[in-house]
Symmetry: C2
Subunit: 355 residues, 2 copies
């Protein structure tokens, strides 16, 4: 069983020095936007005196400060390294800051390729000050092989899938989770990538897990919240992306969902970074997902989520109408138009299946 409370209710200060932006500090902006725990300050000396909202458009009045010392008056309990240095290594100035945070009694969380817990000096300091180091991308030592166990889950499970990678599958799941919770539905977001894990405070970085155990870890994480009304599993990659399709299939065969929500970016016409592979019409995109899952449980497509960023509202509304017509299910851009329709569809499908 997962410790779901890994960083539950911690007050977080974000390290985003020199890189606080929607593009360069995805983990920080994700935690600010959806934070299941509280953000108290962001460190980036170039924006001192501004609020997070003013810099990245989310995070409300969370202040941007120049240093960890300046952040301490907001009583943080943990430092989150919300930026990834080139190559994912831990540069010396960042390590110095981690040691400072530890000595001040803060936990340190990071999604780097270099693990904090592989650094003897950091480990010794954390022990001395009785704080926790959390490597978000580090797989556990013991992992299970997938056994199709989610077929016997008591909860209703929905998986986000996509026409390509990096189109907003995590955002869709989080928007639906937020709307479901607002309505009093006992919903659980299962994070499967490092940003999602930083946001939720738990989960497994499936893309960093060896092939034999990917589906098993998804299964374990889903079953750890079995009993919820609604389990929303963050998607990764796409069956159409040859580099990441294996991660995608591990999610499908690990979670064995009752329903799928298809995510698509309306301006994307070809698979990213793969020459000459056009994205087919959405009904063709979804078909192999249903086919591959069917030996275990046939899932139903119950909604389409469009990422319409970079298009006008008129174009976005037209795209939503078109998707509803071609796929025969409710569609929305949940960031632009809200996730209400998707939550309606999930509740209705769950009821229909008798959960």
């Amino acid at each position: 069983m997962i410790n779901k409370n890994a960083i539950h209710r911690k007050r977080i200060v974000h390290l985003a020095e020199g890189n606080f932006s929607l593009r360069n500090s995805k983990m920080t902006t994700g935690v600010l936007r959806y934070g299941y725990h509280e953000s108290v300050a962001v460190i980036d000396s170039q924006y001192v005196g501004k609020t997070a909202q003013e810099v990245v458009g989310c995070g409300g009045n969370v202040p941007v400060v120049a240093s960890l010392a300046d952040a301490m008056k907001y009583r943080p309990e943990a430092l989150l390294i919300g930026i990834t240095p080139t190559g994912g290594r831990l540069p010396e100035p960042m390590k110095t800051l981690c040691l400072e945070a530890i000595s001040l009694g803060l936990d340190v969380y990071a999604g780097l390729h270099d693990f904090l817990t592989d650094d003897e000096e950091l480990v010794a300091a954390a022990q001395k000050h009785n704080v926790k180091l959390w490597d978000i991308r580090k797989p556990p030592k013991q992992m299970p092989v997938g056994g199709g166990l989610c077929r016997w889950a008591k909860s209703y499970i929905s998986l986000m899938v996509g026409s390509d990678c990096a189109i907003g599958k995590m955002t869709v799941a989080l928007e639906i989770d937020r709307e479901a919770k607002r309505r009093g539905v006992k919903s659980e977001f299962v994070a499967t990538g490092q940003c999602g894990i930083a946001i939720a405070g738990w989960g497994s970085p499936i893309d960093a897990i060896p092939g034999d155990f990917m589906a098993g870890m998804v299964e374990r994480d889903v079953m750890s919240v079995d009993g919820a009304d609604l389990i929303l599993v963050e998607g990764q990659g796409s069956l159409l992306h040859p580099g990441f399709s294996s991660v995608t299939l591990a999610l499908l065969h690990g979670a064995i969902p009752h329903s799928l929500i298809l995510c698509h970016q309306t301006t994307r016409k070809e698979i990213s970074k793969i020459k000459d592979v056009p994205i087919p019409p959405l009904p063709e995109v979804i078909e192999p997902y249903i086919r591959l899952a069917s030996p275990f449980r046939k899932p139903e497509l119950i909604g389409v989520c469009l990422n319409t960023s970079g298009t006008s509202e008129e174009e976005a509304r037209a795209a939503v109408a078109e998707a509803e017509k071609t796929c025969g299910v409710p569609a929305s851009d949940p960031v632009r138009f809200g996730a209400g329709k998707l939550v309606d569809a999930l509740i209705e499908h769950r009821r229909k299946l008798g959960y």
Copy 2:
């Protein structure tokens, strides 16, 4: 580029103490049967004086000896740990033997979960004696993401796929490779699991590689032998096995094969260790493979390989005839009836495609 000559032409002594059998020393029996390099002795004190052929039915006159000291007269150049201790760890007596082998100037090869190269004492000894430690299951530090590059390979590529895991996909590829080479076809076997790698002397343990890089490593390995007449990619798992399907898909989207050879064990009716998932008729088994590969290159099913072990010859012949009828392609049990038909089909398909 891979160093294909990692253990090329080494004279190997196998450590199989207490476990020399078809079941318990798969790596050793694989190397004995298909050895692309030479086996000179097997250590297992319970069978001293017998030949490998007498104990496991392959390996010819390779002698079984009681100890490494006894094996030295056969002038081995490398020790292969051909058995896996419970839990995959390196027990102390085995480590002592490794140190002895190193001091005698032998390389040491192992497919353990505990890596030889993580043991400071073994590393120091290997450096001192100028020998190589090879951890067959250890992924490299730098790995690529798959980019669909095999679409531009100059070689004809065929991938073994299966109705389930552990039904003989590696054996099929090796039997076809052997028969192709016998006919003078420049064939390359691309190993994707630890036994195959031990046999071939190179390859990547795809099931031990993190999700983001699985397809990329397959792609890199296939492209490293581009130029061959025929590239045969060892299969892993099955799209029907929820625990291992992601590894299977990484092979399909990494290798982007021109053809598929479907492997099936005739006595297997349900997916192994997964409750209530019957194996569908073979044409239904193959369909999702073709569908998932098609955005990159539509592969053709060109043969069926049946593992008929445990059935009578009459039953085996009937099963082969039935598979040919339902699938419309040549079928065989290559171990029982030879791989000739499959090589014929591969050569014919390659010619048809103009390679």
